[in-house]
C-alpha cells in the first residue's frame, strides 16, 4: 500500500520550506533592488501552491479510499458514505478545513505570481513575500497543532462518520466558497502591507487591489448566502440568519470588504482616501483572521467548531496578534508619509462613498461589539450573557437604514462637487414608486400590521428603482430616441452595469428579508394519517409514513398531499434520518416553491399514539433573500469583466469607445 498520507505530510513540509524562502528572499531583493532576488517570488509561489495542492490531494485520496488508519479519516468518514460526502468530508473537520484554507491562500499567491506580469517588480515581490508570511504561519499551525495526516497504529475497520447535518450538498460547497472569500482578502492585505513597506501608493495600486477585493467579495457573498440557505433547510426551524457569532464572523469581513470596494473606487478614480483604503484593506483581512480564530479556536461552540484544543486556540491567537498588531503598527508608522490625494466637496460622489464607508464600518463595529462583548465579559467577570437577534436588530438596523436611503443618491452624484437637489429631482420617479408601494402595503395590511413594514418595503423598492434610475439617466432613455439610448447602453462601462445590478440585488434581498420576517406564518400540529393542516390558502393532508433505508442512515419519510383552494398541486415528503454510526439524526425539510415564496414542512417527534408532530411555515418572498445575493454576485462579475478593471489588462487603446455623452464616470 502506498504511503499516501506520508506523502501528503511530506509535501506540506516542503511547502513550508518554500514559503519560508518566499517570505524572505523577495523582500531582501526589493530592499537591495536586486531583480534576481525579487524574481524568486513568482516561481516559489507557484511551487508552494503545487505542493499544498499535492498535500490536499493526498488527504482527499485517503478519504475516497476510506483509509481509516489515518485518524482524521477515521474520525470523520464512513465507508458507506456517498462519494460526494467522502470528498466534502475532507473539509468537514478542523484539520482538513485548515488545509483547504492554506490551499486557497497559496492559490491566490500563485495567481498573483502568474498574472501579475505588469505589476512593478518591487510591488510584486513585496506582495508575494507578505502573502507567504501568512502561508508560513498557517502551514506551521497545521503541522504543529492540526496535522491531518497522523496515523493510528492499528487501523479500525470502520470510521465514525461525518456529523450527519454536515452530510448535505450545501456543505459540499459552502466552506470552499466562504474560504475563497475570506482568504481572497489576504491579497488586498498583502497589497496594503507591500505599499506601506515601500512607502508608495498611487491610483494604479487601487486599480490592482479592486479586482481582487471584488473577487473575494463575490465569493464571500455567495458563501454567506449559501450558508444561510443551508441553515434554513437543514436546521428545520425555518430561520435563515441567527446572528450567531459564527455567522457574524463571516459577515464582518463582508461589511469591511464592501466598504473597501467603495473606497478603492474613490482612490482609483480620484486618487483620494488613500490612507483610509489601506486601513480598510488591513481591517478586512484582520476580520477574516478574527473569524478564523472565533470559528477554529473553540472559543465558541457551534456546528462549525469541530474540536476544541487549547493549544490551537492559543496558536491562532498568536498569529492574530502578530499579523493584526504588526500590520496596524506598520500602518501607524508609515501611513502619515503617504501623500494626500484629490480634494472634494462634502456633497459629491466621493462624499457619498465616504458616507457609505462610515455607515458600513459603524455597522461592522456594532456587529463586532455584539459578537465579542459576551466573550470578553465572560473572560473578565465570569458572567454569561447571550447577545442575540434583538441586540443586532436594534443596532445594525438603524445604522443600515440611512445607508440604504443614500444608496440611490451615490451613483447619480458627480465627482468632486455634486448637486444634491438635482439628484433628488432625478430620483422623484424612484421615490414615487416607493411611496405608492408604501400606500398599497398600508392599505393591504389594513393598518393592522407593524407601521414600519410598509416603509421598509418602500425603502427596498426605492433602492431597486434607484438602480434602474441610474441606468435610465446614463442612457438617456425616455429623453432621446430609443436607438440612441440603446447605443449608449451598449457603450456604458460594464462596471456601471455591475454597480447598478449589485445595488438592485441589495434591494431584492431587503425585500425578501422584510417579506419573510414580517409575513411568515407558522403552524405546529400533531397529525395522524388522514388528517389535514392548513396555512394561508394551502391545505396539507398527511397521507402516510414509511421507513426507508439510505446508504448510511435510516429515514422515516412522511407523505403529504398539498392542495391550494381544493385543487391538488403536489406532494411534500419531509423526513427524519437516523445515522446509527453516530447515534444521531437529522430533520429533512420538505420545501415547495410558489413563486418567490415557499411552503416549509419539517417533522418533529413521532408520538407513541401514532401521531406525528409537524412544523409548517408559509414564507412569503423568502427566496428573494438569496436571489438578491446572486444578483449582487452577477453584478460583481459583470464589473470584474470590465476591461478597465481586468487583471493585468492594459488600458484600452481606444478610450474614445466610451460614449462622450454619458455623464462623467
Amino acid at each position: 500500500m502506498l504511503m499516501i498520507a506520508e506523502l501528503g505530510h511530506y509535501a506540506l513540509v516542503l511547502a513550508l520550506g518554500l514559503a519560508l524562502v518566499q517570505a524572505v528572499v523577495p523582500l531582501v531583493g526589493a530592499r537591495k533592488n536586486d531583480p534576481a532576488l525579487m524574481a524568486v517570488a513568482a516561481p516559489t509561489a507557484v511551487a508552494q501552491f503545487c505542493f499544498i495542492a499535492l498535500a490536499f490531494a493526498a488527504l482527499t485520496i485517503c478519504y475516497v479510499r476510506s483509509d481509516f488508519s489515518v485518524i482524521n479519516v477515521f474520525e470523520n468518514s464512513h465507508s458507506a458514505k456517498p462519494l460526494v460526502y467522502k470528498i466534502s468530508g475532507v473539509w468537514g473537520n478542523h484539520e482538513g478545513s485548515m488545509l483547504l484554507w492554506v490551499l486557497i491562500l497559496s492559490l491566490f499567491g500563485a495567481l498573483v505570481a502568474s498574472f501579475g506580469n505588469n505589476l512593478p517588480a518591487r510591488l510584486k515581490a513585496n506582495v508575494l513575500a507578505v502573502q507567504s508570511w501568512i502561508a508560513v504561519a498557517f502551514v506551521l499551525f497545521i503541522l504543529v497543532t492540526s496535522n491531518p495526516f497522523l496515523r493510528i497504529p492499528e487501523a479500525p475497520f470502520e470510521g465514525r462518520d461525518l456529523n450527519p447535518i454536515l452530510q448535505d450538498p450545501g456543505l459540499a460547497v459552502h466552506p470552499p466558497l466562504l474560504y475563497v472569500g475570506y482568504v481572497g482578502l489576504s491579497i488586498s492585505f498583502s497589497f496594503a502591507i507591500a505599499a506601506l513597506i515601500d512607502g508608495r501608493i498611487d491610483a494604479a495600486w487601487a486599480r490592482w487591489v479592486r479586482p481582487w477585493t471584488l473577487l473575494a467579495w463575490m465569493f464571500l457573498t455567495l458563501g454567506i448566502a449559501m450558508g444561510s440557505y443551508w441553515a434554513y433547510y437543514t436546521l428545520g426551524w425555518g430561520g435563515w440568519w441567527f446572528w450567531d457569532p459564527v455567522e457574524n464572523a463571516s459577515f464582518m469581513p463582508w461589511l469591511a470588504a464592501t466598504a473597501l470596494l467603495h473606497s478603492a473606487l474613490v482612490m482609483e478614480k480620484r486618487n483620494a482616501l488613500k490612507i483610509w483604503t489601506i486601513l480598510l484593506a488591513i481591517l478586512a483581512f484582520s476580520l477574516s483572521l478574527i473569524g478564523t480564530f472565533l470559528v477554529r479556536s473553540g472559543v465558541l461552540t457551534s456546528v462549525h467548531t469541530f474540536a476544541s484544543d487549547p493549544s490551537r486556540g492559543f496558536f491562532i491567537l498568536l498569529i492574530l496578534v502578530l499579523f493584526i498588531g504588526g500590520a496596524l503598527t506598520l500602518f501607524a508608522v508609515r501611513a502619515p508619509l503617504l501623500k494626500q490625494g484629490g480634494l472634494f466637496a462634502p456633497i459629491s460622489r466621493e462624499g457619498a462613498l465616504v458616507l457609505n464607508n462610515l455607515f458600513l464600518v459603524a455597522a461592522c463595529g456594532a456587529v463586532f461589539f455584539g459578537t465579542l462583548y459576551p466573550l470578553a465579559l465572560e473572560a473578565l467577570t465570569d458572567k454569561k450573557i447571550s447577545v442575540g437577534a434583538p441586540f443586532f436588530n436594534l443596532t445594525f438596523g438603524p445604522l443600515f437604514v440611512p445607508l440604504l436611503i443614500a444608496v440611490p443618491f451615490g451613483p447619480l452624484l458627480a465627482w468632486k462637487r455634486g448637486d444634491l437637489l438635482g439628484v433628488a429631482q432625478r430620483l422623484t420617479g424612484a421615490a414615487a414608486v416607493a411611496a405608492i408601494a408604501v400606500a398599497v402595503i398600508f392599505a393591504m395590511e389594513g393598518g393592522g400590521g407593524p407601521i414600519l413594514v410598509p416603509f421598509a418595503i418602500g425603502l427596498a423598492l426605492f433602492v431597486m428603482a434607484g438602480a434602474v434610475t441610474e441606468l435610465v439617466e446614463r442612457t438617456g432613455l425616455l429623453k432621446v430616441p430609443f436607438g440612441t439610448a440603446f447605443a449608449r447602453a451598449r457603450g456604458l462601462p460594464r462596471s456601471t452595469w455591475g454597480g447598478a445590478l449589485a445595488h438592485f440585488g441589495l434591494g431584492i434581498t431587503l425585500l425578501g428579508i422584510i417579506g419573510e420576517t414580517q409575513w411568515s406564518v407558522e403552524r405546529i400540529a400533531e397529525l395522524k394519517p388522514g388528517q389535514t393542516i392548513s396555512i394561508r390558502r394551502y391545505e396539507l393532508t398527511f397521507d402516510r409514513m414509511a421507513m426507508r433505508q439510505g446508504p448510511n442512515y435510516r429515514e422515516l419519510a412522511a407523505h403529504f398531499t398539498v392542495r391550494r383552494l381544493g385543487e391538488e398541486i403536489g406532494v411534500m415528503e419531509p423526513g427524519k434520518r437516523t445515522f446509527p454510526s453516530r447515534g444521531s439524526g437529522t430533520t429533512e425539510t420538505a420545501l415547495m416553491t410558489r413563486g418567490f415564496s415557499q411552503l416549509y414542512l419539517s417533522l418533529g417527534d413521532l408520538n407513541p399514539d401514532g401521531s406525528l408532530a409537524v412544523r409548517l411555515y408559509y414564507k412569503p418572498l423568502v427566496l428573494l433573500i438569496w436571489l438578491g445575493a446572486v444578483v449582487m454576485v452577477i453584478g460583481g462579475a459583470l464589473s470584474l469583466s470590465d476591461r478597465r478593471l481586468r487583471v493585468g489588462a492594459p488600458k484600452p487603446a481606444k478610450a474614445k469607445a466610451k460614449p462622450a455623452l454619458a455623464p462623467a464616470e
Partner: protein, 158 residues
C-alpha cells in the same frame, strides 16, 4: 470651502456616525441582553419572575412529560438544583433525557420556567459550553468534557 473646512466636515460626519453607533449599542445593551444562569443560580439569586434569562443544564432522567398540543414539561438540573421547565412546540432533534439543553424564557409566579425556545446540541460530541461550565461549577465535570460526554452518553443511552 477651504481644505480645512472640508476636513472638518468629514471628521464631523465620522464623529456623528460613531456617536450614533455608540448610542445604539448602549441602548441595545440595556434592553436586549439575556443572562445565562444555571439552575443553582436561579435558586440562589432569586431571579424575579418575568425577567428574561437563559438556563442550561442536563435534562433530568425520567422528568420529561408530554401533554396535549405539543406541550412538554421537563426538569433541568446541574446536579445540585433543579428547575422545572414548561415549553410548547417542537423540541430539537437531539433533545434527550440526560443530555445538555439550553432554554430561553422567564420564570412564572409559581417558579416554573416558561421557555419560548429550547436549544439542544448539534451532535453527540457537542455540549453547549454554558452547560459544560455550569456542570463544572457543581463538580460534576472533572476532565476534558469531550471524553466524558462520550463516555457518559454511552452509559446513559444503553
Amino acid at each position: 470651502m477651504t481644505r480645512k473646512q472640508r476636513r472638518l466636515s468629514l471628521i464631523g460626519a465620522a464623529l456623528g456616525v460613531l456617536a450614533l453607533a455608540v448610542a445604539l449599542v448602549l441602548v441595545a445593551l440595556n434592553d436586549s441582553i439575556v443572562f445565562f444562569n444555571s439552575p443553582t443560580d436561579v435558586v440562589e439569586k432569586q431571579i424575579k419572575p418575568g425577567t428574561r434569562i437563559r438556563i442550561g443544564g442536563l435534562v433530568k432522567e425520567g422528568s420529561v412529560q408530554r401533554g396535549d398540543r405539543l406541550a412538554v414539561r421537563f426538569d433541568v438540573t446541574d446536579g445540585k438544583s433543579t428547575v422545572a421547565v414548561a415549553y410548547q412546540g417542537l423540541l430539537p432533534d437531539l433533545f434527550r433525557e440526560g443530555q445538555g439543553v439550553v432554554a430561553e424564557g422567564a420564570l412564572d409566579a409559581a417558579g416554573t420556567f416558561r421557555a419560548d425556545s429550547v436549544l439542544a446540541k448539534h451532535d453527540e460530541t457537542y455540549m453547549p459550553k454554558e452547560v459544560a461550565d455550569a456542570l463544572k461549577k457543581q463538580g460534576h465535570w472533572k476532565d476534558d468534557y469531550e471524553k466524558k460526554v462520550g463516555a457518559a452518553q454511552q452509559g446513559k443511552a444503553r
